[in-house]
């Protein structure tokens, strides 16, 4: 169990200065996530452009892992389509719960979360933002098909 693996510099940096922190007004969709075990709370607002997440912000209070994970997530999904986000979420989920050793290169900076898998009690902290994003995307209006 290596603390430095969990609290990498990228994590500490994103915890200290979270990116895309705040609230979009107006927003196309909003969702709130809550981890009752530790009291972590997170609110996510996003704007869509067709099928893509044009912009998103998060606010709330949480531990370093939950804050950094949310911050990294906002950077990673901005401009991506629903399908790309779903695939990325799958990769993050594997990284957090059952790392195979073969790390998907598209994870990019999200690889900083690789240390979390060794701390099972903290997996929920890192995944809260992704569950919240999924809930927001479900609420966001889907683009009208012209086919």
């Amino acid at each position: 169990m290596d603390l430095k693996e969990l609290y990498r510099d990228v994590i500490l940096d994103h915890n200290r200065s979270p990116r895309n922190f705040g609230r979009l007004e107006p927003a196309d969709a909003q969702a709130a996530g809550h981890n009752p075990l530790c009291g972590d709370k997170l609110t996510l607002t996003l704007r869509m452009q067709g099928d893509r997440v044009q912009d998103l912000r998060f606010e709330g209070q949480g531990c370093a892992i939950s804050t950094a994970s949310a911050s990294l997530m906002t950077e990673a999904v901005k401009g991506r389509s629903r399908q790309e986000i779903a695939r990325l979420y799958g990769e993050v989920h594997t990284l957090l719960t059952a790392p195979t050793g073969e790390l998907a290169p598209e994870l990019g900076k999200l690889l900083a979360l690789a240390g979390v898998a060794e701390f099972p009690a903290r997996v929920k902290c890192a995944s809260l933002c992704w569950h919240t994003l999924n809930a927001a995307l479900e609420r966001a209006p889907a683009p009208v098909s012209t086919e």
Binding site: L3, D40, C63, A64, F119
Partner: protein, 421 residues
């Protein structure tokens, strides 16, 4: 005043010698290494560890005495019944209750409070009535009353606390009204360690003819409790917080109240005779113990209480108070650390937050150093909200902790600060 008397008064009596090394040797789990470091267990308020005396009593019971209680005529049924009822007598003695008829075995504090809410509550509480609690309560002394209020149309009232974590007794006095049917408060706060002025609370409530339930889960491990001296009507505690196994606890209820209460759960052991139309209920306290009880748990609880008696509740309290003062001083000196709950009367619990670091991160970093603390809302969300925090880190002490544990905690917190800046 004679010179001798003055001299005697000037010199405080020597503190009784408390051999913490000997106590530690009684707890096998303390020999464990966690993440390569010797375990420092500072989470006794969540659940304490078990001494050999308890483990051996359970083993002896399971290997030589077990059968069902209050049933067969065979020898083992009798030894099991004797062991179970002997544990009840130990509990009576420990709480200074008048009679074993007032001692009901339950699963824990939570079940004890639910028993009172369901049995006493459903027959004594109606629309417009009020139950008075405090903001310091554990969820187990909040939710059963919310459920009772929803079922009966009664209202739940809560007395606030002052900024140092002490109960606002003036506000409590104001909230205590002609509508109040029951006062239910913690003896000691699990989140902050505040010791509540229970004698005064009972006095105020009784002056209005209102019975009082005390949640003693955090009190019994840390101080001697005398239910007759306190004069409370109900007193609940859990075995696992006082060095006994999980799944066993106690409800003390004043006999005159218990005798008027309908059974809560129906089944075997709580009846004298059963017909298809109706049944005759058993005597106290068995009327409230439907089904086969946790016999070995009760035996373990009896052994745990005898263990505490052998160390002496007063000696344990004095030892823990020394650790509380040491920890409070050392932690207060750490930069950007805030103690939450600084009541003048406290059990050995130190709740705190660190600027810029979430309690969960503190917990993980301390764990990597072998130091176990609790982080979160401590099942007491209303009091967390009163202090404007979602969570705190909490170190809680038991009879086996020592000054070195405090130093290891401080070292761990210094490491937290180094990592987070």
């Amino acid at each position: 005043m004679s010179i001798n008397a003055a001299a005697a008064r000037a010199t405080p009596p020597p503190a009784p010698y408390y051999d913490v090394a000997r106590v530690r040797a009684e707890f096998p789990i303390l020999a464990r290494q966690i993440n390569g470091r010797p375990l420092v267990y500072l989470d006794s308020a969540a659940s304490s560890q078990r001494p050999l005396a308890v483990l051996r009593a359970i083993e002896l019971y399971e290997t030589t005495m077990h059968a069902n209680v209050h049933r067969g005529v065979h020898t083992l049924s009798q030894t099991a019944t004797d062991a179970f009822e002997n544990a009840r007598e130990i509990v009576r003695r420990f709480l200074h209750a008048r009679s074993t008829r007032e001692i009901v075995f339950v699963r824990g504090t939570t079940e004890a409070i639910n028993l009172v809410a369901n049995s006493w509550g459903r027959t004594h509480v109606g629309p417009g009535d009020e139950i008075l609690i405090t903001y310091l309560e554990h969820h187990s002394n909040i939710v059963p009353w919310q459920m009772l209020c929803a079922a009966t149309g009664a209202k739940l009232r809560a007395a606030p606390v002052k900024p140092n974590g002490e109960l606002d007794l003036e506000a409590f006095r104001t909230l205590l009204s002609a509508r109040t049917r029951l006062v239910a408060v913690a003896h000691v706060s699990n989140a902050l360690g505040t010791i509540l002025p229970v004698q005064e609370i009972v006095h105020l409530a009784h002056a209005r003819g209102v019975p009082v339930l005390l949640d003693g889960a955090q009190a019994v491990p840390h101080q001697a409790v005398d239910v007759q001296a306190i004069d409370c009507d109900f007193y609940a505690f859990s075995g696992h917080k006082i060095y006994a196994p999980t799944g066993i606890g106690v409800l003390y209820a004043r006999e005159s109240l218990l005798a008027t209460m309908p059974p809560w759960q129906g089944g075997g052991d709580m009846i004298l005779s059963v017909g298809i139309e109706s049944s005759t209920y058993n005597d106290l306290p068995w009327r409230f113990e439907a089904g086969t009880p946790n016999i070995s748990g009760a035996v373990g609880l009896g052994a745990a209480l005898e263990y505490v008696e052998s160390l002496g509740s007063t000696a344990i309290a004095a030892h823990e108070h020394t650790l509380l003062e040491l920890a409070t001083g050392r932690l207060a000196a750490l930069p950007r650390l805030k103690l939450i709950g600084t009541a003048s009367a406290k059990a050995a619990v130190v709740s705190f937050t660190m600027d810029g670091v979430h309690p969960h991160d503190i917990g993980t970093i301390l764990d990597s150093e072998g130091v176990a603390i609790r982080t979160g809302h401590h099942c007491a969300m209303p009091i967390m909200e009163s202090f404007g925090v979602a969570a705190t880190a909490r170190a809680s002490f038991g009879c086996y902790n020592n000054a070195e544990d405090v130093e290891r905690l401080v070292e761990g917190l210094q490491k937290v600060r180094k990592l987070f800046g």
